[in-house]
Symmetry: C2
Subunit: 201 residues, 2 copies
DNA sequence: TGGATTAGACCGACCGGTCGGTCAGTTAGT
DNA sequence: ACTAACTGACCGACCGGTCGGTCTAATCCA
């Protein structure tokens, strides 16, 4: 049994080292050798645990995405109303800036890379489509609970996702540029103001 | 004089070929040899006209940026009011999707690349800061002309830039996903609705 | 129980290929 | 004759991935 434990430890070390290197240097600029050095592991070991460099990245990406989605769902299910949930979600993106700001350029790098490869592409936009549906459902829920006007949920979802994505991008590219959480909150307030039903908070 | 003409022609051919290749394959995946083939020019010629691959890209980037900025200023100076100008500017981003959609992943790729290199970085965020100032000034102008409430121009500029950037990203990554111009217009309308002074259009 | 056998974890030199960039040499305009 | 424009073979660095081999823990068999 000891061997299996050690094996899994090595695998995790590789994953962690990869995350560190990718975050610091980007995907392309990180050599497999660099990952191996950081993990204190040989190339053979790396290719024993993963079929390719890309596979390592994809696993990272999926793990990251899963935890992000889980957090969003947690907020949605625990908030008192849809507008309140939206507000709390923007605040959460603020947390992202603090804890994982370095990973976002990497994420974008992956997106651009995937955009050239039709195979990877479908898998990549899946989470994006998920979020659009996520917000569309949320808006729909708001309409049903009576806190939001009878707008087109799809349309509003696109606006919200656009705003969120842009916010994240600005946060990434100009971390010192201001209190992005506050900007985020005010922007969502502005959007909410336009679609909310009077008399609700 | 004939030589100088030919030289400039070659230079432009290289620039055009580079734009084509970069747009099609991305920056990293485009080899200098590929650019040379497309331009029908030898490697030596390319390095006679440009000091490096990156220099070619930077020149492309700056040219593109200049024309974009010029267009924005043209709209600003010819619109009847600030809200009207904003609305026309979103519509313009729609044109971008049509005419230069392929270049945007490239633009983003460059951003991520630049984010790792402190030297390139300052030059890269310069246009971004420019746009924030551009919109802040615009909002300020709107306040002075009496069409916009007394908001914080900087803050609103950040919201607008975030929304615009996110819109562009969505347009890039999901071109088939909907009528992005309409989404853009409605989003800006929503934002405007929150900051506009009553009784103006 | 203990020696033999097996299988998986791991090592690191090595490979084929690519890429950005160079340079000695050729051509053609002035 | 001189120079700018241009050629293309070539260089060294690098990179993702491979492969023959080593070590060790688990398993089998007598």
């Amino acid at each position: 049994m000891k061997e299996k434990q050690k094996s899994e430890e090595t695998r995790n070390r590789i994953l962690e080292a990869a995350e560190e290197c990718f975050t610091r240097y980007g995907y392309d600029s990180t050599g497999v050798a660099e990952i191996c050095n950081t993990a204190g592991v040989s190339k053979g070991a790396l290719y024993h645990h993963f079929p390719s460099k890309q596979a390592i990245f994809v696993e990272m990406f999926e793990t990251w995405m899963r935890s992000f989605v889980a957090e969003m769902e947690r907020i949605r299910d625990s908030a008192a109303s849809v507008p309140a949930a939206l507000l709390r979600m923007v605040k959460m993106t603020g947390l992202i800036f603090q804890t994982a700001a370095g990973q976002l350029p990497l994420f974008i790098e992956f997106l651009t890379k995937a955009s050239r490869d039709p195979e990877t592409w479908k898998a990549t936009i899946a989470p994006y489509k998920f979020f659009r549906k996520f917000f569309a459902d949320l808006i729909h829920q708001g309409i049903e609970e009576g806190t939001i006007q009878e707008v087109d949920p799809e349309r509003i979802a696109k606006i919200i996702v656009a705003y969120g994505a842009g916010l994240v991008m600005q946060g990434v590219f100009d971390p010192e540029g201001g209190r992005w959480v506050d900007v985020g909150v005010q922007g969502i307030r502005l959007i909410l103001k336009g679609i909310i039903k009077e008399g609700t908070g």
